[in-house]
Assembly symmetry: C2
Homo-oligomer: 437 residues x 2
């Protein structure tokens, strides 16, 4: 059993906790058994491991998310990396080719594609794992249909032919208005959960038909020229031999603050105080200073290094155009080796705090237009500057002039204050080198 999790793009609708490089699936808001908080991607990954332990999970995503995924799920997770964003059909085609050509999976095997961020119980994953068994000579594609709980305008609808658990599909309907949604539901329509099961050979045939490419290598090299098209348009809506499995149970799409906060286990994550006149308030505070809330009703407050959102919950679904107006550099990022956070920005300088995970190091790199000063504030490790190795500990200061090759490697968790100095500070000013050991 192969499960392909689609880890979708950046979204601004959960700003300031999601941004151009941090997607909503990485926000840590779900309380884990040990009292710490986990993200949606961690929650879904754990649920699948428990519900379908025999499944091979592959995450299809873009380059920008690889670091965050490895940081949150560990180094061993399978990732199929899209060179750029081309919508769901190319992403799924690439992941299928990756499984066959790189991982050696047989074309006879089924794969189930699922978004990385449904908010569901484990039973959902036991169900989707059953989709593979539906595939047969006369069933090329099997889908999940969610029993609607209200006439939503946000989802596509699947009209099944019967009200059985498993049914052929009569029609697909685009996102309707509320009245139309109500009439669909009266006919027994289901929400399209974005889950597709197919045999890998079927996907390869469709890929070749639509892109001309067959192998993983060809797809990868021609990827940036592929047409942006969704799997629904490219495949599902044209397929006649298709079945839908009805799912009745908890299923939420946590795409807006309104829906996300409904799913939160705690009213408050992070430092916050609120008075008794607050009602239906949720606070997520990633900053290290407190938030005090007084007399707020039906509101969400979210604060991160990127900014602060204070919103009526209903109104929160309309934030995108406002966030689009914000032209600001990235203030926080998870990397494969740890994370960094911008703590000060000046004309001619930027100060960041770097946390390196034990055993991890940055790429060996140099900058053309800036000097850097590292002050180690916690942990142990070593630096390599122009080939010279040096052990480091708290209090050590390393100055790196423009052009110098440098890296820092953590033995224990290592924290560093990095002051960048130069008139042209840019994330693009970076040249990587192989570190000959």
């Amino acid at each position: 059993m192969n499960i392909i999790l689609l880890s979708g793009g950046s979204g601004k609708r959960l700003w300031p906790l999601s941004n151009d490089i941090r997607s909503k699936q990485f926000i840590k808001i779900f309380r884990k058994e040990d009292g710490t908080y986990g993200s949606m991607v961690q929650r879904v990954y754990d649920q699948i491991r428990r519900a379908v332990p025999e499944a091979t999970v592959t995450i299809a995503t873009s380059k920008t998310q690889v670091s965050a995924i490895r940081n949150q799920l560990g180094e061993d997770v399978n990732i199929c990396v899209e060179p750029c964003r081309r919508d769901t059909f190319p992403a799924i085609a690439l992941a299928g080719a990756y499984l066959c050509d790189v991982k050696g999976v047989s074309e006879e095997e089924p794969a189930v594609v699922c978004p990385v961020d449904p908010y569901v119980d484990e039973t959902y994953f036991s169900e989707i794992a059953r989709l593979g068994a539906l595939l047969a000579d006369d069933v090329n594609l099997a889908l999940i249909g969610i029993e609607p709980t209200y006439p939503s305008e946000k989802y596509g609808y699947i009209i099944p032919e019967t009200q059985e658990k498993i049914s052929a599909v009569q029609a697909f309907k685009e996102k309707p208005d509320q009245d139309l949604a109500r009439s669909y539901i009266e006919k027994g329509a289901l929400w399209n959960g974005g889950v597709f099961a197919f045999k890998l050979g079927y996907l390869r045939a469709k890929t070749q038909e639509q892109t001309g490419y067959k192998s993983y290598g060809d797809l990868l090299s021609g990827y940036s020229a592929l047409t942006k098209i969704s799997f629904d348009y490219a495949v599902t809506e044209k397929e006649e031999h298709i079945q839908v499995m009805r799912f009745k149970g908890k299923w939420k799409d946590l795409g807006t603050w309104n829906t996300l906060t409904e799913a939160m286990d705690d009213q408050v994550v992070g430092q916050a105080l609120y008075d008794q006149t607050c009602e239906n308030l949720h606070v997520i505070n990633e900053l290290n200073v407190p938030i005090v809330c007084m007399g707020l009703k039906n509101a969400v407050v979210a604060a991160s290094a990127e900014g602060i959102l204070v919103s009526d919950k209903e109104q929160s679904s309309y934030i995108k155009p406002y966030v689009d107006q914000i032209d600001q550099q990235i203030m926080f990022a998870e990397k494969s080796w740890g994370s960094f956070r911008v703590i000060d920005v000046e004309e001619g300088s930027m100060t960041i705090k770097i946390t390196l995970n034990p055993g991890h190091g940055m790429n060996y790199h140099s900058h053309e237009h800036r000097d850097e000063v590292w002050t180690v504030i916690a942990g142990r490790g070593k630096t390599i500057v122009d080939g010279m190795e040096q052990p480091v500990q708290p209090g050590d200061v390393i100055t790196i002039e423009a052009g110098c090759r440098h890296t820092i490697i953590a033995e224990t968790e290592l924290r560093v204050v990095e002051v960048q100095l130069g008139q042209e500070i840019s994330v693009h000013d970076k040249k990587k080198y192989r570190l000959d050991s």
Copy 2:
């Protein structure tokens, strides 16, 4: 004409913009002609200079505010520093003795005492300057009575004998409930604006009567043992030869977010965006990341390095007990030489950003329990470390071990990232030295 401005204590009711060391009078929210923002103390000081240019202004305040006052009003401002807080009678007694004994002002001269933070027009200060002229053989004390605009429970009331502009006083009334306030107002009562005029000789007599001290030096050395008592209790309410001058005009006490935001010239100070469904919203953002507000009504959002407040305006007057629960170090402070802001706190380290004003320097000092690393990020100046002078510019790194005497002096505005390292980082770990030049 002597005006004594009482710059009162720290308050938490305007948290996070006021805190233990920054009082509300220093928050910059009033738009100045040049488009920048000024504080209440700057606004009042400028208004007095324009309305009563002949007046000598002295600010009576505590040690903790001296730096902020000099930073906001300049080096030339007269300040009478209380060694500790002892309520308004000791503070006024000390300021009076300071004027006579230090500044050589005659005891025959009148002085007008006024809080530093009334939100008024300039005419208010022209009026209070006239109080001095009322003082005569049979008038020892002259007060301002504000014509009430509503039956407030927040103010003391003065019942005048007549409804004339100037009247003798029949009685003083404590803060009443609303019904009582209404009945006072029907009798022509006025709010007590906390303004007193007297001759300096009268104050000296009262001081000696109540404290046993006469001179500035004696008062200063015995200050910490003085009884905490207000000028109203100690003097005003016992005085029989007293007159009140009626003031009708704009007068507001900006003590809570609700009243403060009413006085703001702009709906937003700092980086913020809000949608059209927001109503009666005010935002003050001292952080360098944006705040986005959606669908907020009758709300105030205030963010500083100390924390974030999001409150219904009415409810905002009840924040004190919530803020009292916050046990946090000072994250921002104005000093006589500039300001600093905490940008990162770790176990075993703290990183701050220091801004030194041109021509200013820190005290020459050392720390017993911490090392420091300075990275200059902007400006020019010099450092002195254990007597060794060195010019500094952006990119320069200075490491200062525990025990080292050090200072930095700005030639142009100088900005420095300071990493403090040690297991016992405390503001109290500081030893000052004379810098022999």
